[in-house]
């Protein structure tokens, strides 16, 4: 079976777009092939900075013939129907259609449309130009003379040549001929920009890859990554050092070279006085180089690994020297920032925050800091933190935003604050909170567990959420520019993973409705504060569901707990969900749920029939006088279960509450076994329905069982 080889050769593709582009190329071409009846055995896409390539193996030489029968109108149908049929089937006259007899419908016309399959290259020549023209680059451009014309070809950077061959393994493949934006397809590509820029004649994938390797191009991104990683590790090992691995950087660097040559450079040891994160950020962001550490002490070494794109004729000496000079200049800047920053105390930076707008309607960073300080103080007793320390940490938390270092490396915010706080002799808990108050940044980020850090981290997120909710800037669909979902998840993780007992409604009510937090916002007059709060709580509920679902909790159990009134203590909600899950895993639990469902079903039907509800307490005197023994048993059991469950819930003993409900099981079973609910006597019937309702009510002490599936 023949194979297809396609290569799109262009000027340097941004590293961050390469992997996705290769996947897109593969998907777009193979989908289009399959859509046209060309099923293949396998396909793989490759990418380097200058080329996107695709190999499709095991394609048929031509499309299968298609035979289609199209049913038309009956014989003798009106002319308009006949004309419509001829047009849609592509026939000139009815002579070309055949007549089929059906015992029920009589005689009618059938058009037989036969479409012979076309040769695969012909189909490919149709597909590829379309794929190129509509390629989903995140950003694309026009270039050259042709860019003056409307509809000019767009590509990520100027496209230079297209290689496209098709043919069986045993024969010389053919060039699939087509043209896009003035570029005619061919069987030619080019080697490495500097080391082997010449023309390469290509037949098929095998010689393509080999020729490229000879021309100093490693086609496969993952292989380039492997080469870089291995050589970097080896170079480090030879110096008794360890590579500080960095997957993001590795992916990027592998997207910047066609022929990775890994080299090691060094810098003056004096620079190691600068915090290691700063050195790493500097070298990574500006130079795209890796750093190394001492395997034993874990300390950063004064070496770095660079990945060049050429085998230089001096063995890389000039390249290492050049990179070393740039690293030195960058580290000098970083060292200068570090030393300059240390000369200003964090609190002395605070006035600068007054001139930085946090959000147009939410005041300045300075005002935000004042809110955070008040909020952290308030939260301190709840999380068991020292209120003075919490307030202090909150006051200093944003000060590093106006330091030179964070101005240069925004990703070091918080961390630099911690360094500067430590340098100026702040309490260790305060310094830690300055760094950690941004955490957790997502579902896998570390959650602070020190009380002062928790207080400030919660303050930071609650202020953000309340603020943006107050000005009606909520996430919609995929848009969440202020990362509010992440903030809510942060609150959830901080609270749950530290067991913080915070009644959100009460706490936020104070802040929002009383306005202690929101007084510095510029809210439009008449902003309804209460509905803001309700809406925010609903958002928390949604986020909690997502969080619990990710943890493997059943979504129906979460719904069953949320359906109860006044659930705003996240810790209790989760404990209740967990207890409920465990209970439903027992036989008692399953049985009670079955009993509940049965009771609820009967009630639903009867209540609908009677047009009334059967709320209210059953008449115990009537049961005593005329009821069956099982009826009495259930009434007594329900009374006890409800009382016990309620008491257990009040003690926050959800296991106990479940046990209390479990005790209902024999009485419920016996009741359904022996008692006819729809008794002849209307008084008895009404009372029995009320008993069923009492089962429903009793279970509501722990959850809304109607939300539970199964």
């Amino acid at each position: 079976m023949p194979d297809l080889l396609l290569e799109l050769f262009c000027e340097e593709i941004p590293a961050r777009m390469q992997r996705k582009a290769a996947e897109d190329l593969k998907k777009l071409v193979t989908d289009a092939l399959v859509e046209r009846g060309l099923v293949y055995e396998g396909a793989r896409a490759y990418v380097t900075p200058r080329r996107l390539a695709l190999q499709v193996v095991g394609l048929p030489a031509r499309q299968p013939d298609v035979r289609e029968e199209k049913k038309g109108p009956r014989v003798g149908a009106p002319e308009s129907a006949v004309q419509g049929f001829l047009k849609s089937a592509g026939l000139v006259s009815l002579d070309e259609a055949k007549v089929v007899t059906d015992p029920k419908k009589g005689e009618f016309y059938v058009a037989v449309i036969e479409r012979p399959g076309r040769d695969t290259p012909e189909v490919v020549a149709e597909i590829v130009p379309d794929v190129i023209r509509s390629f989903p680059w995140p950003k694309s451009m026009r270039w050259g003379k042709a860019s003056a014309e409307p509809g000019a070809l767009r590509w990520v950077r100027p496209l230079h040549s297209i290689l496209c061959t098709f043919g069986p393994e045993t024969e010389m493949p053919d060039v699939v001929r087509f043209e896009v934006g003035g570029i005619a397809s061919s069987d030619v590509t080019f080697g490495h920009r500097f080391m082997a820029p010449g023309l390469i004649l290509v037949r098929r994938y095998d010689d393509y890859v080999t020729s490229l390797e000879q021309a100093k191009v490693v086609l496969d991104l993952d292989r380039r990554k492997d080469i870089i990683l291995n050589e970097a590790r080896n170079l480090a090992f030879a110096q008794g050092l360890e590579l500080v691995e960095d997957e993001g950087l590795l992916e990027e660097v592998a997207g910047l070279v066609e022929w990775p040559v890994v080299l090691m450079g060094s810098f003056d040891e004096d620079f190691l006085a600068v915090p290691p994160e700063v050195i790493r950020a500097t070298i990574r962001a500006n130079q795209k180089c890796f750093v190394l550490r001492d395997g034993k002490t874990g300390k950063l070494a004064n070496r770095f690994i660079l990945v060049s794109n050429v085998e230089a004729k001096d063995g890389g000496a000039a390249i290492v020297a050049g990179n070393g000079r740039v690293v030195r200049a960058r580290l000098s800047d970083a060292k200068f920032f570090w030393e300059t920053d240390k000369r200003t105390r964090l609190e002395d930076r605070l006035p600068k925050l007054d001139s930085i707008v946090f959000h147009e309607k939410l005041g300045t960073q300075g005002e935000r800091v004042a809110r955070l300080a008040a909020l952290a103080r308030e939260l301190a007793p709840i999380v068991g933190a020292d209120a003075d320390k919490a307030e202090r940490a909150a006051r200093l938390a944003k000060a590093d935003l106006v330091s030179e270092m964070v101005g240069e490396f925004p990703e070091l915010q918080g961390l630099m604050g911690r360094y500067y706080a430590t340098e100026q002799g702040e309490d260790a808990a305060v310094a830690a909170a300055v760094e950690d108050h941004y955490k957790p940044q997502g579902p896998s980020d570390r959650v602070p567990d020190a009380p002062v850090s928790i207080a400030v981290a919660l303050a930071d997120k609650l202020d953000t959420l309340v603020g943006f909710w107050s000005i009606d800037e909520k996430p919609t669909g995929s848009k969440d520019p202020y990362a509010l979902r992440r903030a809510a998840l942060g609150v959830i993780r901080l609270v749950l993973e530290n067991g913080v007992r915070l009644k959100l409604v009460q706490f936020l009510d104070d802040l929002v409705v009383v306005g202690r937090l929101t007084s510095s916002y510029e809210l439009p007059a008449g902003t309804p504060k209460v509905s803001t709060l309700e809406d925010l709580l609903a958002f928390f509920a949604d986020r909690l569901k997502v969080y619990l679902r990710d943890k493997g909790a059943r979504h129906d159990l979460i719904d069953a707990v949320f359906a109860l009134e006044g659930q705003d203590d996240l810790v209790l909600i989760v404990r209740r969900v967990e207890a409920l899950g465990r209970f439903l895993d027992t036989e008692d639990g399953r049985n009670l749920l079955a009993g509940y469902k049965r009771a609820a079903n009967i009630l639903r039907i009867e209540e609908k029939k009677d047009g009334r509800s059967y709320g209210g307490a059953p008449d115990l005197a009537l049961i005593a006088r005329a009821g069956q023994i099982e009826e009495k048993g259930l009434a007594v059991a329900l009374d006890a279960a409800r009382r016990d469950a309620s008491a257990a819930v009040a003690r926050e003993d959800f296991e106990g509450a479940m046990r209390a409900l479990a005790a209902l099981r024999p009485a419920v079973d016996a009741f359904f076994d022996k008692v006819t609910v729809n008794a002849e006597d209307p008084a008895l019937r009404e009372n029995r329905l009320k008993l069923l309702n009492a089962i429903r009510e009793a279970t509501r002490e722990v959850a809304d069982f109607s939300r539970i599936e199964g």
């Binding site: 590293a15 900075p49 451009m141 910047l256 050429v310 990179n323 740039v326 147009e360």
Partner: protein, 315 residues
Amino acid sequence: MSAAERMTDSHMSPARSFQGLILTLQRFWAERGCVILQPYDMEVGAGTFHPATTLRALGPKPWRAAYVQPSRRPKDGRYGENPNRLQHYYQFQVILKPSPKDLQDLYLQSLYAIGIDPALHDIRFVEDDWESPTLGAWGLGWECWCDGMEVSQFTYFQQVAGFECAPVAGELTYGLERLAMYVQGVENVYDLNFNGGEGANKVTYGEIFLQAEQEYSRHNFEHADTEMLFRHFKDAEEECRRLIAAGTAGDGDNDRRHKLALPAYDQCIKASHVFNLLDARGVISVTERQSYILRVRELAKACGAAWLATEGGGM
């Protein structure tokens, strides 16, 4: 014999003198059909502001030019104390419209001409999408790296002054001081050999510019009269609008062309520089900053539209 070899021994070799670097680049691009212009006689933040780039990038007419442009970035002043940062520095600017197919090769040849041999050095094109909010311009391209150092910007202009470039122009911007530091092997910009002389005949970059850096840093950060600057900004803005209006063809005019596009654009440049000075003085708040940028952009757009209605703009 390559240009680099030809000049190795001479004091005009790019490896020996700053002016030699400039002359080599000028000669290189002159040989490739560029008109060699002189710097624009106004304060600008980058070579792109020169009307030979901003305005000539618009419209259908082919255009090839190269020039040195002194660039002023008031905020980057460091009182002459930082070995890499200057509030006044030189850019070498090349604009080729339409962008030729071999623009990357031409660029690499120009590096070779100034003594950067790709068999010895690691030259890379690293993604860098260029955008000038004040000019309403953007393009795609790269930072060009030599051994890990950014030595040039390479951009295919897609839009300028809010108008699509048709055809697209290719723009190359060489950071001359950085490049010179690299080829001269100097770590401090002020140590650059400017004229290629030795001993008593040597003139360094510092001898020419250190005092200026100190004085202008004082001016930019401490002494520039902000009230006057605010006034100048307003004046330039108003004058620009007035010229745009005055140059626009009236209903009865047979000649539909704009008559004052270039003088109007001068006022746009002026407003932009005054804004940069105010920014350096720290008297523009974060929120105001955006609105000032927008105001300059509006001027740039109006000037772009005016230019497109001139002969140079293709009308």
